[in-house]
Amino acid sequence: MLSLDLFLNAIVAGLLIGGFYAAVSLGISVTFGLLDVANIAHPVFVILGAYTAFTLNSAYGTDPLVAGLVFAPVFFLVGVAVYQFYYASFERKGESPLRGLVFFFGLLFIVEVALSLKFGVDYRLIEAPYIGESVHIGPVGIAFRLLVPCVVGLLMTFALYLFLGKTFYGRAIMGVAQDSLALRLVGADPIRIKTLAFGLGIATASVAGALLIMISPVEPSIGRAYIGRVFAITVLGGLGSIGGTLTAAMILGVAESLTSTFSGPSWAQAVSFGLLLLVLAIRPAGLFGR
């Protein structure tokens, strides 16, 4: 049943969902890849982003993407606060990152329960004119519901890449990841830089959440399904590499899509994680890791 049509569509679908996965994983790429903070609560911040987009969409009919961008500065501040607390409780005392994992697990559940209490547990969807519409280019059909998140994911990755490579604070973040003592010697405060980076990671969750609710309905506990995926993508791409995260997300997306189409959807995630194990066995630092 190997038809070219189906094959092309599967590749395209995989790339589209890969762009979305990249958007969700960017935050982890920054906080875990660069700062070594095992922020396992990141997916629940994505869900929080989905709910804030939903709130604006229900109340004012705002496009979810606009809502995601509007709330990004708020999420930034939340990230700053979370990092300050984390730093004061764990990093300053020299605890290993794995100790902080417990803190983030707790944060995950607290935010999840808060969402359940505030919004209830029914599935929420948003309305936008492009949801349900698709465009056809030859044999390939592309749904806007998946195209928009992919494009935004690519833009976010590119923007973050430029920020980290070209701006002072961006390079300071890369610097703190490499050697925070050296950074102190050139006059930047590593703690301030790390706070900024963590806030940035959480800010991406606001936009990623808006993209999530475009694709599928959300309820407070669905974040847990993403924990495995986002860490797998970050590790596969290589810790510390934003481009690596995007590449890994695309690879995983295409692997899932091809398996779903030709072999059977049950195997999709097994294939993705199998790929991860294979790559790590050959290249433990990940595809583009330091």
Binding site: M1, S116, G120, S260, P265
Partner: protein, 450 residues
Amino acid sequence: MMRPLIRTRRRIGAASAPVIARSRTGGAARVSTWTRTALAGALVAAVALLVGGSAMAQGAKPIKIGFGMALTGGLAGNGKAALLAMQIWRDDVNKKGGLLGRPVEFVYYDDQTNPATVPGIYTKLLDVDKVDLVVSGYGTNLIAPAMPLVMERKLLFMGLFGLANNEKYKYPRYFQIAPGGPDPAGAFSEGFFELAAKQSPRPKTAALVGADAEFPQTALVGARHHAKRLGFQVVYDKTYPPTTVDYTPIVRAIKATNPDVVFVASYPPDSTGMVLAASEVGLEPKMFGGGMVGLHFTALLTKLGAKLNGIVDYGFWVPEPTMKFPGIEAFLQKYQPEAVKAGVDPLGFYLPPWAYAMMQVLGQAVEGTKGLDQQKLAEYIHAQEFDTVVGKVKFGADGEWAKSRTVTMQFQNIKGSDADQFRQAGKQVVVYPDELKSGKLIYPYSAARK
């Protein structure tokens, strides 16, 4: 700096000497022997009073009904609505003086739609909370883990929307309120395939798809059976992980096999995903639907709106003229304002009437046997026919309905996303069986989408 929790130093042979206890706050308290004796005596007296008192106040002692319920997680939208309906029943019963003259109380915990929590919850309910009766949480996946425990303790167990949970055990004290009948797995798909087989020209090929979970897998077993029995050729038969994000590749693969009918067994997130993907990919078989849970929820009815038109789904109760059982309107009028306040499904057509009916059966059995003996209750429920808000209920030997009353319905003429349109008849039309039919099937699927 934290002190060690409690450190007591007792000098041997100095029984009358004061006992010094160091508490966490660092203070030291002297507790004399006289005080200890007085405290012990008071404790004994209190216990005696309680035991004696409870014997006297037996009439006011509440009947405790215990259960787990999905209050968070994927099925919580329904679970919370069911809880509300059960609480309405409890309040109705208590207003009339309770059961056997005793007030009814609930003891319940959130099972988080996570089957792993269920054995622990029911053990706590039975051993710590010492409930008198147990009923189930919502859904096949959450009933299954409780079965071994209730069977071991020989308890009566009322099941709320479990698909074939008792098929292997044939436990005589289990009763399930959804009208699946003696072949519940088949009931989900019987109407779908029977209707398909009656169409002319007769559709030949079928695609079957569902999530990797207990309910969808069981429903698919029934679907395969009916498809084979009626001579359909199955061209696609695969399952997907419930955490799938994008259903487009799956729908494309189905479309590539060119099936005449597509049967989907899914839970709310995947039901939505499949409907959206089918709409985008342009999957238009002659009949589309199956056992798609969640499409009846108000939130999805309103958001998916016209995209639902033409889908043939199962149903238990819909607001059609052929299903106006005595008491159902009164129940919905009580339920709907409370639901809005509680932030749960405001229409309440899908699960709440059944949760209420389940408790009605239990309550009538307690009154009928004049007691809480699990064996007598089970025998009574097997023997009687009950009058409930969902009509007359009669159970068979395996605890399912003696005769199936699962209907097959089709979404028709839905326009836009206004929730009120669903209060009237004509949007969720019953197309099978003939006894409850309230409209005609629009075939093929594409005709209903115009």
